[in-house]
């Protein structure tokens, strides 16, 4: 029995399905549940902003997509393939497999390898055999996006400044052809000007058929530059997100 029978049929003009489809996701750590029954659909070519205060689950959402939370339930489909699972899993146990499905996570803070040089760092991002073979031109491409890194290639990342680290972190994520980029608070802890620069660079990235979600506390940095903005409040998405169905239905009756 179709529930949307009476309305106009869903307009699926896109050639492929959504890149990310989250249904009924709950996730948390131990006794604490951070994300409550969340739904989200991200389509190819979309640049999405998630805005919310500290501790409302933006990072946890990203970690849940990457399989890094303490436990999670519900369905996460990446490129139509189920990566979430409803098991209570140890954090990070399947992350590398999820990542290999086409996910690039640029985490909040300095989730980077202190001892490696910038160049090795970028290399480490090239985890598919193809990317590893083509790592030289890819590095060039990233250096074109972040020119300041060019003269730092041989410097251990531990010695870089916060902004440079963020650039390295984002550059590392760009080394493979990901279908979905998750950028967690690109401006956190950076001077406003540098933060803006990092944001510019993110906006400048050609998405093609992939998609990008940027989590940010500062709405001003996102407004007008992303395709849609969702608010995150105590573990649920408000705004457009909860009406994901609405984006499919038409109201011109």
């Amino acid at each position: 029995m179709s529930k949307t029978y009476w309305n106009a049929p869903v307009a699926s003009s896109e050639p492929q399905g959504p890149i990310l489809e989250i249904k009924g996701l709950s996730a948390g750590y131990g006794p604490m549940r951070v994300i409550h029954d969340l739904d989200l659909v991200v389509r190819p070519g979309e640049r999405l902003g998630v805005v919310g205060l500290n501790g409302h689950g933006k990072s946890t959402l990203f970690l849940a997509i990457a399989g890094l939370t303490g436990w999670q339930r519900g369905s996460i489909k990446l490129n139509g393939r189920e990566v979430g699972g409803s098991r209570s899993q140890g954090p990070g146990r399947y992350t590398h497999l999820i990542v290999r499905q086409g996910l690039a996570v640029m985490p909040q803070g300095d989730e980077i390898f202190h001892g490696l040089t910038v160049e090795e760092h970028l290399d480490s991002g090239a985890f598919t055999p193809r990317a590893w073979r083509e790592r030289a031109p890819r590095k060039e491409r990233i250096l074109a996006i972040f020119p300041p890194l060019r003269k730092l290639m041989k410097v251990p990342v531990g010695r870089l400044s916060g902004g440079e680290r963020r650039m390295v972190s984002i550059g590392r994520g760009l080394m493979v052809d990901a279908a979905l980029f998750l950028v967690d608070e690109p401006s956190l802890g950076l001077a406003p000007k540098i933060g803006k620069g990092v944001m510019e660079a993110l906006m400048a990235i050609e998405l093609g058929s992939s998609a990008m979600i940027i989590a940010e506390q500062n709405v001003a940095l996102l407004e007008g530059r992303v395709d849609r903005i969702l608010g995150m409040h105590v573990g649920t998405l408000k705004g457009e997100a909860s009406t994901s169905l609405a984006s499919q239905t038409k109201r011109d009756l």
Partner: protein
């Protein structure tokens, strides 16, 4: 004091120590595991090589041709070591690597494995030491008033080659990069597609193979017996510690320093002071450099 002699024995010892320490250092750096079962791997690999060697000795046609027996025995040692490493990984690393308190628990788990394994070896093979057939033929090379035997020379050359290869591999390959990345931040490593568990097996098989190789190469110094792994373990740990846990470069520098120290001590003070000077040296270096020699080499490491 005969300088030439001191240099030769320093090089010999440095080779032995470097070979012993590198496996421990890599294990610690990538898995965060102080592998107390390293000595067990060492002993088990020796027994594996011995079993194969014993079988080969029985075949008359090839029992005297070193160029056939040698490589097969070495290969047997390496394979047994790798298998042992995989087992240790499956028991001590896989079940608990993402659980709280992993470092201490991993240490104790590997200790327990070593305790059990040693007793099993003792019961299966008996307490008597075994030796391997000569692996590098039967030549001698006099340098000044020191004579380097085939076994020693072969072991030295192979360990230098081995260390060079290991260093090069760690520096230039994707696997090496993965191992180094995992050692710095396992969480972030999984974000760049590095499977922690798979890499764990990988690393342990590799270090097991290194231990196996070391065991075969040093079988003339540490004969194969159930407890023969203890000394290599302690030596390897102290070298790795002095080098700075997790730094392969540091371990090699430390091996050279400790080898020189031991050669000098033997020449100047007498062999019985070798252990004392060794530990004093380690303590002094650590008091000034709490992160070992790697703390000097690599300033970017976290304090």
């Amino acid at each position: 004091m005969d300088l030439g002699f001191v240099i030769v024995s320093a090089v010999t010892l440095a080779c032995i120590y470097g070979t012993l320490a590198i496996g421990i250092s890599i294990t610690w750096s990538s898995l965060g595991l102080i592998n107390m079962a390293y000595g067990l791997t060492f002993a088990t690999a020796g027994y594996g090589a011995w079993l194969v060697g014993d079988q080969l000795q029985a075949i008359d046609a090839i029992s005297d041709t070193t160029w056939i027996v040698g490589p097969i025995v070495i290969l047997a040692g390496i394979l047994t070591g790798a298998a042992c490493g995989v087992v240790i990984c499956a028991v001590t690393f896989i079940p608990i690597h993402d659980k709280p308190n992993f470092t201490v628990r991993g240490l104790i788990a590997s200790l327990a494995v070593s305790l059990i394994g040693t007793q099993v070896l003792l019961q299966v093979f008996g307490p008597r030491a075994k030796s391997l057939p000569p692996l590098f033929g039967d030549w001698e090379l006099p340098i000044g008033n020191v004579v380097i035997t085939a076994d020693k020379g072969g072991a030295m050359i192979s360990s230098i080659v081995l260390l060079a290869l290991a260093l090069r591999w760690m520096k230039s390959s994707r696997r090496g990069l993965e191992i180094r990345a995992m050692m710095m931040n396992p969480h972030a490593a999984s974000l760049v597609g590095i499977g922690v568990r798979r890499t764990g097996f990988y690393v342990m098989a590799l270090t097991g193979a290194l231990a196996g190789l070391a065991s075969v190469l040093l079988s003339q110094t540490y004969y194969i017996s159930p407890f023969s792994g203890l000394t290599p373990l302690i030596k390897g740990l102290s070298v790795a510690l002095l080098g700075g846990l997790g730094s392969v470069n540091g371990a090699i520098v430390a091996a050279v320093i400790l080898g020189t120290n031991e050669a000098l001590t033997s020449a100047l003070l007498g062999g019985q002071y070798a252990l004392i000077t060794q530990f004093l040296l380690i303590i002094i270096v650590l008091l000034f450099r709490p992160r070992g020699i790697a703390g000097i080499l690599d300033k970017a490491r976290e304090a």
